[in-house]
Amino acid sequence: MNRNIPSISKLNNLFLDKELKPSELFEQVYENASFTESILHAHLELFHDEGLENSKKSDERFLKGESLGKLDGIPIAIKDNINVYGYKTTCSSKMLSNYVSPYDATVIGMLKETGSTFTGKTNLDEFAMGSSTENSAYGPTKNPWNPDYVPGGSSGGSAAVVSAGSAVASLGSDTGGSIRQPASFCGVVGFKPTYGTVSRFGLIAFASSLDQIGPITNTVDDARIIFDNIQGYDPKDATSIKPQYTEPKNKKLKIGIIKELMQEGVSEDSQNEVNKVTQLLENSGHEVLETSLPLTEMALSVYYLIAPAECSANLSRFDGVRFGLREPASGSYEMMNKTRAVGFGEEVKKRILLGTYALSAGYFDEYYGRALKVRSKIISDFQKAFDDFDFLISPTTPSPAFKFGEKTENPLEMYLSDLCTIPANLAGLPAISIPTGLSDNNMPLSIQLMGKPCSDYSLLDLAESIEDMVSFNHLPKITKGDNES
């Protein structure tokens, strides 16, 4: 097994120079996937035959000099809440164990145009609700750096496969950190674009106003290439925008450190990474100052009202009537009740109940209504901050990856692992997590950068320069964990 996967640009050059064939690359990542799968359980399905067939088509295109671009022949894994025509899309739920999608998500259609190859569907917390993949109905994914640790979530499978070399890149979805937090736990790059720049059509909704598809990759440039190929206005998504991307005014950037994410509750390890990067940024002539966004402390509470409220309606369609699981019963309502009781896992049920409660007559104003008001204040706070700063920096997570079971007993602890990532979802901002170092127990640590809406490309540029400066080039040694022996 060769875990060391070159960047997409390098791979493209190897293909163009006929030093490597896309099908050879596909076989290599497939071998990695097969080798690691019994340890990691990162996939729900592997697409060997069709993947190989597709990559052979790429071989021919390169042979004829008709390649479709940088993604031609690049093996990409897809989070299993994104619909791929003709394949199962389970959302890691029993509810959809037999559900085969009759259509492609917009991003899938766009990737198919690029000539890239899908390696398979990756594991996630059921319906993307969770921070560890422990909520998957098909069993958790393990962290490639140490299988005793969680890979993060909800896109834990998508982060693990990139980290393990089982795909060159993957797609994840990010509602409160579900791309960035697992990317951070697995030592890879995770990018959540500006809300509306990447179509949500075909992404099975968790919380529609927060959900965003994005790439998980080995390098920032890889993330840029994937983003470039999946962004753009989609007439099938009414919340999709026609983005006008912005550039910072000066080359010398002004970057703000969010004070509220550098205090108690955030581990020293995580804070140190931010300080390390701050030093490097200052050394290269940028200005880095502390700034306060006081409402950041409210973000978690706001998120845990808005996201469950939206999910309570979004998940109503899973009723056994038209598709998916159907539990036998004597009447329609009994069938729906039984199906939902059996089909949904505990975390999903908890959030549906929470959201239903927050929207109920008599409680709406107190909970959901108030959360919306605070959300708009958070948005205007960010707008003010971006009057002063080009970008904001913080740790991606309050601590590196934790062990299985460590936080399952205490949901609040679990929810806190999204403390730093949630604000960007509430405000629709682009945000990226890049690995910068290792903790004492050899688990990856990351920093997060946030930009104003539609600053995606310049945010990626800054992330890339930090990537160069920190030159994080560690790879996980994938072995069975202590619990496995």
Binding site: N81, I82, N83, T89, C91, L96, Y99, S101, P102, Y103, A105, R200, F201, G202, L203, I204, A205, A207, S208, S209, P235, K236, D237, A238, T239, A309, E310, S312, A313, S316, R317, F318, D319, V321, R322, F323, G331, S332, Y333, M336, T356, L359, S360, A361, F364, Y368
Partner: protein
């Protein structure tokens, strides 16, 4: 104790758009189930709604036609409830920011004009259709069949204030609303197809009281006859309950056509909690001045405008309203014909009585193309000027409906023109008097019924070719001087 009923109407209007409200599936009218579906209107995971601009234009037209103010920044909300034919188990609807608010419709009852205040006009999507086998009801069905062709068809809900006071008024209101959507061209308006479906909220309270009684909702009717009977029945039922000092419970009932009664469907404890919240899949519905103007310009006709045009020709309010609610061609034919006859009443009577009657009898729904206002006006003028008898007019019309004839030349060619020549009439009258001496002797005064008999005898001997009015005149002169 005198009780007065108060009624509020909620009407769903199915818009006649090409495609559905939030996807590009065609709106189809067919009994073949589940042929116009896509991931969006079937509520498949991951599918998203995109609003139909035409439907928004239509609802703005309807709001303007119902004299509403337009909400410039509207919102779509999710109305949450579980039902097998509601694919997402929430309906995309509108809650506190409907498209149209505070409007009114003029309605006509007999010869009086009333105003019905409109509270709101909002946009939503239709559900699929359920067929509950075994019992017709979801809770006792042996199985349920689902057809999602209707799922996602654009619906507009028009809600009145609770100010309707009788079944007749409710019927007149629905007739006016139906005509409005037809004249605007935004719905087929066919009641039998369920293009309009209405719920009536009914309560009774003491005359003079400011407070309304407990309301009962009769759901989902689509015939005016049922609506009228159901409201009348419900008013009686509630009145009797109040008089018997029974308390009325807030509930939903339905009209049982077979038993001719309203029956309880379910009891509402307080109001149902639909947990409305703004749909995060849909941005705010911005309706700017330009869009309103575009919609306004699409409005060519409304029943109110048509009624004014008809009143201007001299017709009574009830006759105007009759033509207003009738078929479009009849309305247009009346207007062009009355221009030539100058006589609104006889034109109205001839077209709505004779013409429609003969067409019904001959089972033709469309006028032959040669039948135009010019020919009809000439026919109306012929008998109005006593040049032909009414019987001849009827015969000529019957001929005209099957053959392209000119009424006037047909009348003279076929010897139908009545003579008003006094000498000829005098000769005939003299003859009849001589032949009927026994009757003439029994005559006491000019009002005697036997005068009519003698006029008839003259007409008979002339083979109806003389004008009966002139005959009577000459006869009376001869007999009484």
């Amino acid at each position: 104790m005198s009780l007065k009923p108060t009624i509020g109407m909620e009407t769903h209007v199915e818009l006649d758009t090409e495609s559905k409200m939030f996807c590009s599936c065609k709106v189809v009218e067919t009994d073949e189930p589940n042929i116009s579906l896509c991931p969006t209107c079937l509520g498949l995971p991951g599918a998203l709604p995109v609003p139909n601009k035409k439907a928004i234009e239509y609802i703005v037209m309807l709001s303007l036609g119902a004299n509403c103010s337009i909400t410039k920044e509207g919102m779509f909300h999710r109305k949450n409830y579980f039902y097998p034919d509601l694919p997402k188990n929430y309906q995309i609807s509108q809650f506190d920011f409907p498209v149209g608010v505070e409007g009114s419709l003029e309605i006509v009852i007999e010869d009086n004009l009333h105003t019905v205040a409109i509270e709101r006009v909002h946009m939503e999507e239709d559900t699929g259709k359920s067929i509950h086998l075994g019992s017709g009801r979801i809770d006792s069905a042996t199985s349920t069949l689902l057809d999602f062709n209707r799922s996602g068809v654009p619906l507009v809900e028009v809600v009145t204030k609770p100010i309707i006071s009788s079944a007749k008024m409710a019927v007149a209101y629905i007739e006016e609303l139906r005509q409005l959507v037809i004249d605007l061209g935004i719905s087929k308006g066919k009641l039998e197809k369920g293009n309009l479906r209405f719920d009536a909220n009914i309560s009774v309270a003491e005359e003079g009281s400011d407070e309304l009684g407990v309301k009962v909702e009769i759901k989902n009717m689509n015939s005016l006859k049922s609506l009228e009977k159901a409201i009348d029945y419900e008013i009686l039922r509630q009145t009797k309950m109040v008089q018997d000092k029974e308390s009325i419970i807030q509930e939903t009932r339905h009209w049982d056509e077979n038993k001719q009664v309203t029956l309880s469907m379910r009891t509402k404890e307080g109001s149902a909690d639909y947990r409305y919240f703004s749909d995060p899949d849909l941005p705010n519905m911005v309706i700017n001045d330009e869009f309103i103007e575009i919609s306004q310009n699409q409005i060519k006709e409304t029943p109110e405008k048509k009624r004014k045009t008809l009143l201007d020709t001299g017709l009574s309010l009830s006759d105007s309203n009759y033509l207003d609610k009738g078929q479009r061609w009849l309305y247009e034919l009346y207007l062009s014909t009355v221009k030539e006859t100058g006589d609104c009443k006889s034109t109205f009577n001839f077209l709505t009585g004779e013409l429609q009657g003969q067409m019904r009898k001959a089972e033709i729904s469309e006028l032959p193309q040669w039948v135009n206002s010019e020919k009809l006006a000439s026919l109306i003028n012929l008998f109005e000027n006593n040049e032909i008898s009414f019987t001849s007019a009827k015969d000529i019309l019957a001929k005209l409906l099957i053959e392209d004839i000119d009424p006037k030349s047909f009348a003279s060619d076929n010897n139908l023109i009545q003579s008003s020549d006094n000498d000829e009439i005098k000769a005939l009258v003299t003859l009849v008097i001589n032949e009927n001496q026994d009757i003439v002797e029994r005559l006491e005064n000019p009002e005697d019924k036997l005068v009519g008999f003698l006029v008839g005898q003259v007409m008979k001997s002339s083979e109806s070719k003389v004008n009966p009015g002139s005959v009577k005149e000459v006869l009376l002169k001869e007999l009484f001087g």
